[in-house]
Symmetry: C2
Subunit: 571 residues, 2 copies
């Protein structure tokens, strides 16, 4: 094909993509057509201009280039592109925004061409960073990761975390495409059409930047080709675009964010597009068939090595477990927010430095990157102080819509860290993680339980949170004890139990002490170690409810004893 | 005093400050002496070098300059400075990190010289931004806000949100002091001692930057003086410092983060400091006595204006309430994350543009800035989609330790927004806000309840969250109905009630519909509108528990009816 024929094909595809954007949003009577229209050439050029490599029948092909719409509200464009590629039909597009459709208002991974769910702005670049990290620093694969960014979302700090860390890992396989269409949801963005405002900032962080006309195919294709020359810098293509491009009444107009055309407006808009050839399809070359390393799980030491009564911080057991189980979970990687000496991820890092990623004090990007690694089959364990995961709640929340397989380990739980003060204490972490649908929340009381539950977490697909302590707690379980997600342990029980003390983590040791104090008075109390805070072992709880007269949950031994006395006096 | 005498005084004060840092941390056997030592000259020069204006007996003086330790772990330095100023005694310093002391491991506002609690990194600059915004754009006061920053925390995205927004508001009264001591908690930072890495980035965002030797008083004082010349740019002083400065065995040494010296090491370190004059005191000039505007609450329309049955989104009532009550709450300001047309903060903005602050899509900084405004007596209402407040959970969490008086309003609650998809839905917001100690969580069902509860929130000191809907719900209350924090409403009840349906917000309308469906079958169900999710009206709940046989909580009318049928069959 000659250059001019190529150009004509791209123009025809762009018109078809616009046709799909406009018709699907009008049919749904909602969506964001204007935000989709501004990036039509940028994305059409990428997918169909000989740049993008993708095996359409095999969306999970390890060498496929990856495309993330960080500006998730441009979803109509994403769906239109895959329709133009022949991967979706017009019938599929008609389901856009309908209940049950894979084509949701913002992309989710229910659609196989979506790498990660987006829609909460400023998250796509971190996910892309994780995916690019996988290609460059783990699997040695040739794929590139392209992230479409909106100009408004550049105000999110998470973007700058990702920009900074991507540069420090030299991710020349990560490409940001910044669609500077000037208009946000409620008017002009901070920098309007000043492309240099973006290139100055992004360039200062160590990226290669290019400023282009985002509606000119030659400039677009040249920019993508220039990416190939980079060896150690990520690239940001900063494109001057027009919101609503291609529809005269919408172009560069305020007040059209997130609004579909009505039927009459649609007809007028379609007429303005000229002749649309709905039968043409864009061609995407598949990638080479290079296989990533696929290490098989090997044998590993399954025995833990502690003495009953030995004082060990559960965070130490976390580090030791990671190191111990890795041969059995060869996809395991560790990410930490510049506190690996405190979380004890350091124990893993020292043995497997190539599987450890320093993510610095930037928790949002760390969780986003972990999600990216997880989408490429890795098993990320992410650690910082439990308190600081509140920083990444939005990323954690969003990861549930991307079938995330990430293990989050928060240290320094609870008031027991004492004198460092409340800023360092994880107090809200259990409530936070429990609010995530299908998440698992584990709170082990000793080193053995921690080691076993780290292992259970590694084998459990999904989002798992493990809470560890800074200070030492005595080992109370031997290596034969078993711990399961959804399980519990009953370290003290008898047929004479009056009531039940429920505890987990550090409070279990208070419960055990209270048990002894009450036993000395002749009162037998059952003690349940409810280490699986979610899901809960309701069976054991119900059994105790039937067998004992009351339940107690308090944070100190004295409070437990006092409360039991009160209850017994009242009865 | 001659220049050389001034210099000698500063050197003597710096030695005294070092003495306090070392002795207090050794006495506590914990804390972060090395992170405090690196900034001794930077802070001694600021407070005692004729720059800082502060009326020590009146920490709440409206014209006091403000100092925030964003690197909160340098708390021993903060306390040592105020001791050197004569505001704290050596006896006070001896309580550092003791239970009950005002001198906590990381600063909190229990100590009157602390503007905001810090310790979770990357938050101080946003708080400072709010304080500076107050001086420049609200009260027209001459004070400056100084924020001490660590180099590691510059990786936090929240910093770049604050840096970007501070520049866009032209805050020449905001000064960042970046203590580049090269070493983080677990080794070297990303940029080590490369000051230009920071000045390039911060400068690209529109700040004036200066690179200085952070242990040279002449350079430090000159830098602070240069700030006075700026008219529309914030200033970042980027200082090359040495971690552990002043103690030969600690200087620039890795492995000494967050560790106190033992007694023998302390004695050696103190000997190295030379003669310490513990009697000298640094002088701080008080500020001028200019009064800020203190508008008195005026009269305002207390009646709302809706018809029963009228369909109104509760978000609309939020905007309308803000506008209506402002004359009665003249400290009210509105902050929004570039979605004021969706949250309806726009209704307030249109009438009172000078009280509205566009915070762009940067929720972390928005909440931090609101805290800063609140510390200066303003009454900030902060709005975005409820889902996106998860982005600022760490800032919300930390604000509870600064006695925050902020009202957070999250729109687009729940699954009822439907086709936009889960990324936009606030689903975890109630769990998140409930986890904050003493927080109030309100979820009104109609426009009248929303207006009344916005008013209740304005009058309630503390952290209040209000959840609003996108879609319209019918008005069910008349203007006479009263709504209180901790209250509830019982729109349907009779002496024959079999059970109780508990609901709030959009589900109340489902409960009312279910009530009618069941009444038609002869089953009377009480309906409680539990609009105050926290605190909960336990009295009303207990009364219903005594008067009816069971409670129901479901999200749809059909689910409620089905469940009531099941229960009645089983009984």
């Amino acid at each position: 094909m000659s250059e001019s024929e190529k150009r004509q094909t791209l123009e025809a595809l762009a018109a078809l993509v616009r046709y799909h954007i406009l018709t699907s949003t009008t049919r749904a009577d909602s969506g964001h057509p204007t935000s989709a229209l501004s990036a039509v050439e940028l994305m059409t050029g990428l997918l169909f201009g000989g740049i993008f490599r993708y095996d359409i029948p095999r969306p999970r092909h390890p060498n496929n280039d990856r495309l993330i719409f960080s500006k998730g509200h441009a979803a109509p464009l994403l769906y239109a592109l895959w329709a133009a590629a022949g991967a979706l039909t017009e019938a599929d597009l008609r389901t856009y925004r309908q209940f049950g459709s894979l084509l949701e208002g913002h992309p989710t991974t229910r659609l196989p061409y979506v790498e990660a769910a987006t829609g909460s702005l400023g998250q796509g670049l971190s996910v892309g960073l994780g995916i690019a990290l996988n290609a460059k620093h783990l699997d040695g694969l040739p794929y590139r990761t392209y992230v479409l960014l909106g100009d408004s979302e550049m105000a999110e700090g998470s973007q700058w975390e990702a920009i900074q860390i991507a540069a420090s890992y030299g991710l020349n396989n990560l490409v940001g495409i910044l669609d500077v269409n000037r208009l946000g949801q409620r008017g002009e963005t901070q920098y309007g059409h000043d492309l240099s405002a973006y290139s100055l900032r992004v360039g200062a962080f160590g990226w290669k930047t290019m400023e282009i006309d985002g509606h000119s195919f030659p400039e677009i294709i040249d920019a993508y080709k220039a990416v190939f020359a980079e060896t150690d810098r990520p690239v940001m293509i900063i494109a001057h675009t027009t919101k609503g491009k291609g529809v005269a009444t919408l172009e560069d107009q305020d007040g059209w964010h997130g609004k579909a055309l009505d039927e009459a407006q649609l007809q007028e808009a379609l007429a303005g597009l000229g002749n649309i050839d709905r039968s043409i399809r864009g061609h995407i070359e598949p990638p080479e068939d290079k296989q990533p390393p696929m290490p098989l799980p090997g044998e590993y030491e399954t025995k833990t090595n502690y003495e009953i009564g030995q004082a060990v911080p559960t965070r130490n057991a976390y580090g030791s477990a990671l190191k111990r189980i890795y041969p059995g979970y060869p996809q395991l990687v560790s990410l930490d927010g510049e506190v690996s000496n405190s979380t004890r991820a350091k124990a893993f890092k020292e043995f497997y430095p190539e599987r450890f990623f320093e993510m610095y004090i930037a928790e949002q990007n760390m969780v986003g990157a972990a999600l990216g690694l997880s989408t490429r089959g890795k098993l990320p364990f992410v650690s910082t102080f439990g308190a600081f995961f509140t920083r990444a709640f939005d990323q954690i929340r969003m990861s549930q819509y991307s079938d995330a397989n990430i293990k989050i380990v928060g240290s320094h739980a609870g008031v027991s860290i004492g004198q460092d003060g409340p800023s360092q204490m994880a107090l809200e972490d259990i409530a936070m993680f429990r609010s995530i649908l299908h998440s698992v929340v584990l709170y082990p009381a000793d080193a053995v339980a921690t080691e076993k539950l780290v292992e259970a977490a590694a084998g459990h697909p999904g989002i798992v949170y493990i809470r560890t302590h800074r200070g030492p707690t005595p080992v109370i379980y031997d290596d034969q004890a078993s711990f399961a997600i959804g399980g519990s342990s009953v370290p003290r029980y008898s047929d004479e139990d009056t009531g039940t003390i429920v505890a987990a983590g550090v409070t279990l040791h208070e419960a055990l002490a209270a048990h002894e104090m009450l036993k000395a008075e002749g009162t037998y109390m059952r003690v349940i170690d409810l280490y699986s805070v979610q899901p809960l072992d309701t069976q054991t709880l119900r059994r105790s409810a039937a067998q004992t007269r009351f339940f107690i949950e308090e944070i100190s031994r004295n409070a437990i004893v006092r409360r039991v006395h009160e209850i017994l006096r009242a009865q």
